[in-house]
């Protein structure tokens, strides 16, 4: 099993270094994995003049799974649009056909205080957001900035979902709901947008194949409210690319510890790209302060979804729970009474707890 490792920018290299330690333990124990690195985003632009260069594309295509740190940083803010780091991220998602983005929002009991929400509102929170990742207004054509018939400049983009795109993400979402509490909430804006009226129609149709799952529908504005009002009403949510971008970030912030949250982006054969839900945090890059746990938990998701190694996934997740229970905290989740550790110390502790 070949894993492409893309450290990326900012804190990317540091957190990837710790996640590699976990992978190397598994390797030494006999798990047949190989690790190969390539740059993505700003680092790739620096080295090859492109955020998703051929060498990275070749490696990513050959690999069975991809582990990514994070991309972006102020050094790249003034680059032309096609050269910017986030273009590398969008390009690899599209190139590998990673249409199913899974983003858990889990509140760890040890970190309950980190949430800005009252304990009773978020304790035990465990939501899985399934976001479609290769369609919608992110990739729809036509798009651009033009002069219109009246001689005025205008910016425009196209929101678009074909039936097959909605069907395949629906099946992923229902499949996950089947393994959890059989409750799925599909988020749309069907009262205004035909694209999402169509989305809702297809979701309702696919639901017939999963009679055990209770499907509900919610408007995106209401979903943004309900996540604040009573997030525990949700179990699995499924939505399009742009609404998923917004709602999954909102949901992760409810836990107060986005530094803890992993993500998976899967294709139709469970090949996947795994990355933390947080960004490249340029302000703390290179200081050995970052929280590597989201990246380590992304390795657990990789074991679960791409390699079907549920026991290994749980072993990694339990090691993370153990270091939390032992009171170890990186700066982002530190509070009085716990032990502050660096990024590399946290990685070492997880390895020791494995």
């Amino acid at each position: 099993m070949k894993i492409a490792v893309l450290p990326g920018d900012g804190i990317g290299p540091e957190i990837i270094r710790e996640a590699r330690k976990v992978l190397e333990v598994l390797q030494k124990e006999g798990l047949a994995i190989t690790l190969e690195e390539a740059p993505l985003g700003g680092a790739a632009y620096d080295q090859y003049g492109s955020p998703y260069p051929d060498v990275t594309q070749k490696l990513a295509r050959e690999a069975d799974a991809v582990l990514l740190g994070a991309v972006g940083g102020p050094a790249y803010d003034n680059l032309d649009r096609p050269l910017r780091p986030e273009r590398g991220l969008l390009a690899i998602r599209k190139d590998l056909n990673l249409f199913a983005n899974l983003r858990p929002a889990i509140l760890y009991p040890e970190l309950a205080n980190a949430s800005t929400l009252k304990p009773e509102v978020v304790s035990g929170l465990d939501i899985m957001i399934v976001r479609e990742l290769t369609g919608d207004i992110y990739f729809g054509q036509p798009r651009g900035i033009r002069v219109n018939a009246a001689g005025e400049r205008e910016g425009f983009n196209t929101m678009l979902y074909a039936e097959s795109e909605v069907r395949r993400i629906a099946h992923v979402a229902f499949g996950i709901a089947m393994k959890r509490n059989k409750k799925l909430c599909s988020v749309d804006k069907a009262n205004v947008l035909e694209t999402t009226e169509f989305w809702k129609e297809i979701m309702t149709d696919v639901a017939k194949e999963y009679p055990e799952v209770t499907l509900s529908h919610m408007y995106v504005d209401n979903a943004a409210m309900q996540l604040v009002r009573n997030p525990k009403q949700f179990d699995v949510m499924v939505t399009g690319n742009i609404f998923g971008d917004i709602l999954s970030d909102e949901a992760s912030m409810l836990t107060g510890s986005i530094g803890m949250l992993p993500s998976a982006s899967l294709d139709a054969n469970n090949k996947g790209l795994y990355e933390p839900s947080h960004g490249s945090a340029p302000d703390i890059a290179g200081k050995n302060l970052a929280n590597p746990l989201a990246t380590i938990l992304s390795v657990a998701m990789m074991m679960r979804y791409s390699f079907n190694l549920e026991a290994v996934a749980q072993r990694i997740e339990n090691a993370v729970k153990k270091v939390l229970a032992d009171g170890l905290r990186t700066a982002d989740i530190f509070e009085a009474g716990t032990t502050k550790v660096s990024c590399s110390e946290m990685g070492d502790a997880v390895v020791a707890a494995l």
Copy 2:
């Protein structure tokens, strides 16, 4: 000054009845206002077969300001798209060119407990969200559900902003920022969508005319997070129609008392439509349980923005603060130690406190 009163559906007629009491006091005191009613939404469909019938259009066009209750309800869920209640709302916004939607998210100190967020995170919260209301993907053409070249069905919509549309909402937002703390945050997704890259460019250009205002830019996914993490970092926010729909609902829910929050939708000459931020609450309709304060506070906004009567606006706002200080609460904001009142009792109390 002619005010068109559109009670709408659900709790609309009840809350409008209480707001009318306030207007009628002002009328008796000598304020030259006339009130005339017409239906909108489901009520209009029932009576005239259209959610925005000619009689309502005529009245709304002639009026100097419009007071709206709320529209929608389960009775209308299976109507064809063009007949649904929310179409009436979208139609009147577009017809009257109400491009500037102002939605305050204010936490009343007396209602601090209602928030699901910790007191220190939200105490003193006072955000004004300026949402563009007549453009964006809400109205962009082409749109629909079609069969594509590959023979597959697809849903599609067009996000679109012309320069003049962005400029005029920018001026409204900067104008409001000038009257508040001179801090404006423009929300976009410029890293992905050309429409909002264009939006950001125009915002930056208009900023030159308001050197005293500090303009910042934030991606919409980050804004959804920051509203949860630290909402008090915001003063005035400005964004497009769809992002504004989502973020303004999220922001109002931070206060825990959406039943308290008014809104204004203005044209270029300060003609406006005023309505509570909450919906038609069909479950409690007709029970005299609804909270009329958001509608009464919408009347205050009407006095401020359409009639330039700041003193009257403040008088209404102070009357609302007084009834809260007196411990009066409708069911939605009731807590132990306060006095539960009905919708009409609340309206009467505000009138008494005027």
